[in-house]
């Protein structure tokens, strides 16, 4: 099975290893090396304890970090005093916030002006025209959910926020992407910035933006736009690069100017792919809009946040359902535009009349609705899902609460506790060296160097102890996520019925805002690190399951047939053929799982996980820019390490 073609599914930065070339001996070797590194770390920890923790073997000195935080706090103080005097604010930031705040309000008012029948007709018609009748029905269902959960107005506010912020993200993202697609140097320069932006936890974005743009919709729109903008840059650049060189060459040789090449050849050919980037951007915007409710953005996120602050799981579920429907509808519509699939086949000459007819219909509906005094959906006409959901929740809590609490205590005593003290109790340089060595073993020298620097960075930020505590939590949560994800993914790839059931559930879980997982986790696992861990695992599981399933299903049938005909048992088939051949997907799954777990660190602080996440939340709540930002950056450092550790060796292409 040495030189079989790799499954097409897994791709991206988790490049495959040497296609299984070295076989088990190399693999064993790697793991032996890793075990040796861990053994050294443990020995170092015990040695430090035996020596009574001398100063040279302690945690990272905090002097630099303290100075950095004090400096940031100084910046904060300066901004508070000078917000209305400094030209930077008078002519830039204040403009952006006033302009954006108004844009959101205007869009919201426009949606309100259309009334609910108007919005529904417009949405469904648009969806039908660009994506076919199935998607149109889905959009109709989404509007139905908004109305029947009694969250029509909130949904419209969220929609307005998403429209405004996606517009800004695209306004800046597409030109930057085009530039990165055409210039290699620019691409190299911008890539680390995008990496950084994607690892930075969403919560850590909030603090600096509140400072610069104020509380409420303006800051929410900016922060959502910034958070959502990396994929559109990346994918636009990729799309431009993928335009066949021959086409560009042909156009150039016919005497096209660079501008003509761009607008007549590259952009039209790259259109489909760019639209997929737009789709990704919208999905990120949806998730950020919910988190932005913490800084005063209204809409569905606010509804969830408020329900959770009253421990009303049912109400939070209702609002979560509305978000899920919004996300799925937006995803299907923009995704269909990108794939160009299932568009109704309208003859050329009928297109204009059709468009006109649609507009007339919409205007007519709006006019009639307004004349009849219809506005938002009447709140009285709603289905109450909250009560039954709450009943189920309480029943589950009563049934399995004691067991889960005991399980939680056990995890703390035997897993989280020891790992935490190992990382915080060892000398900082030993931990850093161990991390660098591990990354080197698994992903090559470059990754090792980056990891070492990331650890030193976390130390320089002055939050070493908390960073190590967080790291221990992330490691445990990741291990659990990956183990569960692989098992469920393998089962799913074996059983089509299970896959059909699980797929929509995974879809919903991926779009459900992470807030929603917190309160049930507290009810079952009490306060502290364990519920945070559980919430993180649940949050990170869906993509892992999906990637494992995809990877295994992507193994070519002839290969399986060959293995079977040689008498492989099912277990052999799985461990010797399918899993190794799905290695690309598996690595990507591990990588994605870990990064998602990391992004839940801050959320975990809301249920008592402490450490870095708590400092971010605390910094935001108590206006301590220094502590909040330093902790956010330390999370990025950990993310860099974990990302490099799991990206796999970049094999020279065969």
């Amino acid at each position: 099975m040495a030189a079989v073609t790799r499954p097409a599914a897994g791709s991206g930065k988790a490049a495959p290893g040497g296609a299984g070339g070295g076989g088990p001996s190399l693999l064993r070797n790697t793991w032996v090396q890793a075990a040796a590194v861990v053994a050294v770390l443990v020995a170092g920890y015990w040695a430090t304890r035996a020596l009574g923790g001398p100063a040279w073997a302690g945690p990272f000195p905090t002097a630099v970090g303290d100075a950095f935080m004090a400096w940031l706090d100084g910046v904060y103080g300066w901004i508070v005093v000078n917000r209305n005097d400094s030209p930077l604010f008078l002519y830039f930031f204040n403009y952006v916030s006033v302009g954006l705040g108004s844009a959101v309000v205007l869009i919201d008012q426009f949606l309100g002006f259309l009334t609910w029948p108007g919005v529904t007709v417009l949405g469904v018609l648009t969806a039908w025209r660009v994506a076919g009748w199935r998607v149109a029905l889905l959009v109709l269902a989404a509007f139905g959910v908004f109305a029947l959960t009694g969250l029509w107005n909130e949904s419209m506010t969220t929609l307005a926020l998403i429209i405004a912020s996606v517009f800004i993200a695209l306004l800046f993202g597409i030109p930057l992407g085009v530039l990165a697609g055409r210039s290699d140097r620019f691409h190299r320069g911008v890539r680390p910035v995008l990496d950084f932006m994607q690892i930075m936890p969403a919560f850590a974005y909030l603090l600096p933006f509140v400072l610069l743009f104020g509380i409420g919709n303006p800051a929410a729109a900016v922060v959502t736009a910034v958070y959502a903008f990396p994929p559109v840059v990346r994918i636009t650049a990729l799309a431009i690069r993928e335009v066949p060189g021959g086409a560009v060459e042909a156009a150039t040789s016919l005497g096209s100017t660079p501008w003509q090449v761009l607008t007549k050849v590259q952009l039209p050919l790259a259109r489909r792919t760019i639209l997929l980037g737009v789709n990704q951007t919208i999905m990120l915007a949806v998730s950020m809009v919910v988190i932005a409710s913490v800084i005063g953005a209204g809409g569905l996120g606010d509804a969830i946040y408020q329900a959770l602050s009253k421990v009303n799981v049912g109400q939070a579920f209702q609002a979560g359902l509305a978000i899920v429907m919004l996300a799925i509808a937006l995803d299907r519509v923009t995704g269909a535009v990108g794939h160009g699939a299932r568009t109704p086949d309208v003859p050329e000459r009928l297109r204009l009349p059709l468009l006109g007819g649609g507009l007339v219909l919409t205007v007519a509906v709006v006019a009639v609705a307004r004349l009849m005094g219809v506005r938002g959906w009447p709140r009285e006409v709603a289905v109450d899902l909250a009560a039954p959901v709450n009943a189920v929740y309480e029943a589950v809590q009563a049934a399995i609460g004691p067991t889960t609490a005991a399980l939680g205590a056990w995890t703390l005593d035997w897993v989280l506790g020891p790992l935490g003290s190992l990382l915080t109790g060892s000398p900082w340089w030993l931990v850093t060296l161990a991390a660098a060595a591990l990354a080197w073993i698994f992903s090559g020298f470059g990754a090792g160097a980056v990891s070492g620097l990331a650890f030193v960075g976390a130390g320089l930020l002055g939050v070493w102890d908390n960073a190590m505590d967080t790291l221990s939590q992330v490691l445990v949560a990741s291990a659990l996520t990956i183990a569960l994800g692989v098992v469920i993914g393998v089962l799913m790839s074996r059983n089509d019925v299970l896959a059909a059931i699980l797929k929509p559930v995974l879809d919903a879980m991926q779009t459900l805002p992470p807030f929603v997982y917190l309160i049930p986790a507290v009810a079952l696992f009490s306060i502290g690190r364990v519920p945070a861990l559980v919430a993180a695992v649940v949050f990170a599981l869906p993509p892992v399951i999906r990637l494992v399933d995809d990877g295994i299903r992507g193994v070519p049938a002839p290969t399986l047939e060959a293995a079977r005909s040689q008498g492989s048992t099912k277990w052999q088939l799985l461990t010797k053929v399918e899993l190794p051949m799905a290695r690309g997907s598996m690595l990507l799954a591990v990588n994605q799982g870990i990064i998602l777990v990391l992004s839940m660190v801050v959320m975990g602080a809301l249920v008592g996980a402490g450490s870095l996440g708590f400092d971010v939340v605390f910094g935001l709540a108590q206006n301590q820019l220094g502590l909040g930002l330093a902790s956010g950056l330390a999370i990025v450092c950990l993310g860099l390490f974990l990302d490099r550790l799991t990206q796999g060796r970049r094999a020279p292409r065969a």
């Binding site: 209305n84 005063g296 209204g298 703390l412 206006n623």
Partner: protein, 357 residues
């Protein structure tokens, strides 16, 4: 309104356009069937005028306290505990239904709310706990963007609480010396061989670590992270009669659902909480007050006069808070029920000439 504007007055017509908002109910619709037409017209006018405003804005400097607002909208901060929400929702309900205002409730933490007042994004905080440092920064002595609106009638106490069943078993625990003997009771898996002190939400006022230090208590603070998760945890332990020691406050509706005992510490004296690392006293008693944006006070509209007149008691607040948190009523519904049943209480709050509307 800006206090001083070197470039002359920013046209009021234009300023009135921004800031209508998110959670506003259509005012005209609530006023009855006769009103939709002006609403539509005004929306169009607003649209054009906002465009003009944007054009005007791009030609000159923008100060945050100039962020324009519609005089018909009151923008209230909504801090993260249910008692606050009860006050805010009742006030919002009266402002909407009786006085014809639109009300925007913006959910933020305590400190960011002050910042929002400073930036002119919000008009009022209806329940403020202390925060003298922020008053120094933003008040008349500092930026001059906020003013103290006087007490709102609620008296707040923060303190350390234990459930009644713990005190039944160990009566001495209700005072600091007895607590010191029994910190081992509160050990949990999370804190190992130290006792656990369950902290509040990160945004709340706290001096717990200073008290732990000053009284030499063998406790570790675990932050619940939000009011909701703290209450969930306390309720869970209460149901199982497990010991728990936690940060809590009054007025709080949970105080009536569970039997909680406040641990006695030496009383607060001025200055004893100056160093937050060493606080040898209890929390002070807070006379909760309202904080207004200076511009909101200067405009002196009926909405301000109403909020200025308003005061109510802890019992009244709890009545509404319990409906919201315990019975799971929609906050607006809870406010409606209270307002319908207590006309004699709130009618005096209305500014003169408004009582008969």
């Amino acid at each position: 309104m800006p206090r001083q504007d070197p470039r002359g007055p920013f046209p009021d017509r234009v300023r009135a356009l921004f800031g209508t908002g998110a959670r506003t109910a259509p005012r005209s619709a609530r006023r009855g069937p006769g009103a939709p037409a002006p609403r539509r017209a005004s929306l169009l006018v607003r649209g054009i005028a906002v465009g003009l405003a944007l054009a005007a804005v791009s030609a000159c400097a923008v100060r945050t306290d100039q962020i324009a607002r519609d005089p018909g909208v009151v923008r209230m901060a909504l801090n993260g505990w249910v008692g606050y929400e009860a006050s805010a929702e009742v006030l919002a309900y009266i402002l909407r239904e009786e006085m014809g205002y639109d009300v925007q409730l913006v959910r933020t933490d305590e400190q960011p709310s002050w910042q929002a007042l400073d930036q002119g994004v919000l008009d009022v905080i209806v329940e403020n706990w202390g925060h003298e440092d922020l008053m120094d920064l933003y008040g008349p002595e500092g930026n001059g963007t906020v003013v103290d609106g006087g007490p709102n009638g609620n008296v707040g106490g923060i303190g350390w609480y234990v459930p009644g069943y713990v005190v039944d078993e160990y009566p001495e625990i209700a005072a600091v010396d007895g607590l010191k003997e029994h910190t081992d009771l509160f050990r949990t898996a999370e804190t190992g061989d130290r006792g656990e002190f369950l902290g509040g939400a990160p945004g709340f006022v706290t001096q717990d670590q200073g008290m732990v230090n000053a009284f030499d208590l063998d406790l570790e603070i675990v932050f619940a992270g939000s009011e909701a998760s703290q209450i969930t945890e306390v309720r869970r332990r209460y149901a199982e009669e497990e010991p728990v020691l936690f940060y809590f406050y009054d007025p709080q509706w949970l105080q009536e659902e569970l039997e909680l005992v406040r641990v006695d510490f030496p009383a607060w004296e001025p200055g004893c909480d100056e160093d937050l690392e060493w606080v040898p006293c209890d929390y002070p008693v807070y006379d909760m007050n309202k904080i207004f944006r200076t511009g909101f006070v200067e405009a002196d509209e009926p909405s301000y006069q109403f909020l200025d007149n308003w005061t109510w008691t802890n019992e009244q607040q709890n009545e509404v808070a319990r409906m919201i948190a315990e019975e799971g009523l929609d906050p607006t519904e809870a406010a409606e029920i209270w307002v319908d049943g207590n006309r004699d209480v709130w009618e005096p709050w209305l500014p003169e000439g408004r009582a008969d509307r």
